[in-house]
């Protein structure tokens, strides 16, 4: 079992190194001269030279790469020239709102998806089932950059129940979390349904029914408990979509998180900040996926042995 863990962690380390490398290469994809793109054509040559030196772009690529890795190890993410602050300080401010938003969206998604999926499985083939699955299909097909404005229109502008944007109290979290969580809820509801359906066909469910347990007890105590694992794995996999979607959702609601920082940095061509945001979000995703895998192996003895 130790070998399996070591192998999983080893491959995660390789992936992390690859992610860092790709992010390093990003700045070299800027068409033309990144320094000119950042400072504009009218910048003085001396300023350009200073910026080039600050970014290390005057060095050979291999040296730049090693310097970059060395600074990453020391958690030095460089300097934002737009905000005139270390990138690390900027990120530290923006991480808690993003965590808050993704956690709320995830909780909301589970809260919607589990009852919906269980209900659909319970009433397989009925109107309830097709209704739940139609909702799920719709949820997958509605983009968050449209759902967000529509929710703002209805609940903020027409009904006046929630703030239009910004982060000010629990009420301001409702619409962003709903916007971000709906697609995940839709995907999860399908998974919960098929997972519960599979479990309901198992022998121990028949045994539970045969000994006279109520249908609710069978469903919640026996079926759902065993249907959890595939659902949790899917949550881990879908977290990437959630983190990516947070970029757009945060922009829609002017939510002061890492995602909106990324979009602001792209608009102001603040490339060190762009790199840091991509790196941070991707590494968070890798970390959670690795932890999910390890936890999965821990929980399920069949995997632990294999």
């Amino acid at each position: 079992m130790f070998d399996a863990f070591a192998a999983r962690i080893g491959s995660a380390v390789l992936v992390v190194l690859g992610v860092c490398t790709l992010v390093f290469l990003l700045i070299h994809l800027v068409p033309g001269d990144p320094v000119e793109a950042m400072l504009g054509e009218s910048a003085r040559p001396a300023d350009r030279a200073a910026m080039r030196q600050a970014l290390g772009l005057d060095r050979p690529l291999s040296e730049q790469y090693l310097t970059y890795l060395g600074r990453l190890v020391r958690l030095d993410l460089g300097q934002s020239f737009h905000y005139q602050q270390p990138v690390r300080v900027l990120l530290a401010e923006r991480i808690p709102p993003t965590l808050e938003l993704t956690a709320a969206a995830l909780a909301l998604a589970l809260l919607l998806a589990v009852p919906l999926g269980v209900m659909a499985a319970r009433h397989r083939g009925d109107a309830l089932d097709s209704g739940a699955m139609s909702f799920s299909l719709l949820g997958i097909s509605v983009p968050n950059f449209w759902l967000g404005p529509v929710l703002i229109l209805v609940f903020s502008l027409w009904l006046g129940w929630t703030p239009v944007s910004g982060r000010d109290g629990a009420l301001s979290l409702v619409l962003p979390a709903l916007t971000l969580g709906t697609a995940l809820a839709a995907v999860l509801a399908r998974m919960v349904r098929s997972s519960v359906l599979e479990v309901l066909g198992e022998d121990y469910v028949r045994t539970a029914r045969a000994k006279g347990l109520s249908e609710a007890a069978v469903l919640w105590r026996h079926a759902l408990r065993n249907a959890w694992l595939p659902v949790l794995t899917l949550v881990g996999l879908q977290l990437g979509g959630l983190l990516g979607g947070a970029v757009i959702t945060e922009t829609v609601f002017a939510w002061p998180g890492v995602g909106s920082l990324l979009v602001e940095a792209i608009q102001s061509r603040d490339y060190p900040v762009v790199q840091a945001c991509v790196l941070l979000i991707s590494l968070a995703y890798v970390l959670v996926n690795t932890l999910t895998d390890l936890a999965y192996a821990w929980v399920d003895p069949r995997i632990r042995a294999g």
């Binding site: 509605v142 449209w146 757009i248 990324l262 991509v278």
Partner: protein, 268 residues
């Protein structure tokens, strides 16, 4: 019900294609600014109303249909080609080549897709070609993983061994003996990939990273309309409904194809 689930999406997608094909023949004026007609409501003068510059929403919707279809097809074509080549090459080569390519695939999978696309499109600069490149850079891994898995299991079959024994070259084996059998899941992946590309293009354009003004994209129409939502909700509603209908249709089609071709793929 089952018929409806097949014919409704096909009908809607047909409408999409017709809109794209017919648009150049129609007397559209998507960029004609009409100051007295600013924010006009939907009505007889302008079927879907006018936007904040008095441009007709319907005309812009039709031009936007072209943008999304063009990007969708371009992304699916480019990323499936690249993905099948890489995945097929990895599976056929085996050994350290396979191992190295799998690592590369893993690294790309480690990025939340839309995040990398946003960063790439943002860094390469706006424009429809850059949107296609950014989305294909993100999209090829899915096909590569799928093609590799398929071909790994297929290459042990007798007819492949026979072809190898007869001295067929790897390219021919991939094209003639392997791909036709590996096609079904790739087609399903491509269908869902199309839905993803349409949403992603609109998303990038919403962020201002896609097509540039005055060109129309459904995403940029939503972005431009958000500021006028209270007085002119049709600016946001019309392009959104168009996106949802197209994506819903493509997803329904993908579901139908998956059932018909009997493919087991995850939702990931």
């Amino acid at each position: 019900m089952q018929n409806l689930r097949t014919w409704l999406p096909l009908g809607l997608l047909g409408l999409w294609a017709i809109a794209v094909l017919a648009a150049p023949l129609l007397p559209l004026s998507p960029n004609a600014i009409d100051l007295p007609g600013i924010l006009a409501e939907p009505g007889s003068d302008s079927l879907l109303g006018n936007d904040d510059l008095g441009r007709p929403v319907l005309d812009r919707l039709l031009v936007g249909a072209r943008t999304s279809l063009f990007v969708g097809l371009g992304v699916v074509a480019l990323s499936s080609l690249l993905g099948v080549l890489v995945g097929g090459f990895a599976a056929l080569a085996g050994g350290w080549v396979d191992l190295a390519l799998v690592r590369v695939i893993d690294v790309f999978l480690a990025f939340p897709g839309i995040l990398l696309a946003i960063a790439l499109a943002g860094i390469m600069g706006p424009g429809i070609e850059n949107v296609i490149i950014a989305l294909a850079t993100v999209g090829w891994v899915g096909y590569a993983r799928l093609a590799r898995a398929q071909i790994l299991s297929l290459k042990q079959r007798d007819h492949v061994t026979a072809a190898l024994a007869l001295g067929a070259r790897p390219g021919r084996i991939l094209r003639v003996h392997l791909l036709p059998l590996a096609m079904a899941p790739l087609i399903v992946e491509a269908t869902f990939g199309m839905a993803g590309a349409v949403i992603a293009e609109a998303g990038l354009s919403f962020l201002g990273l896609g097509v540039q003004p005055p060109d129309a994209s459904w995403g940029s129409m939503i972005r431009d309309g958000v500021g006028y939502m209270l007085v002119a909700p049709h600016l946001v509603l019309a392009p959104g409904v168009a996106i949802v209908l197209v994506v819903l249709s493509v997803n329904l089609l993908g579901d139908g194809l998956r059932d018909r071709l009997d493919v087991r793929t995850g939702t990931d």
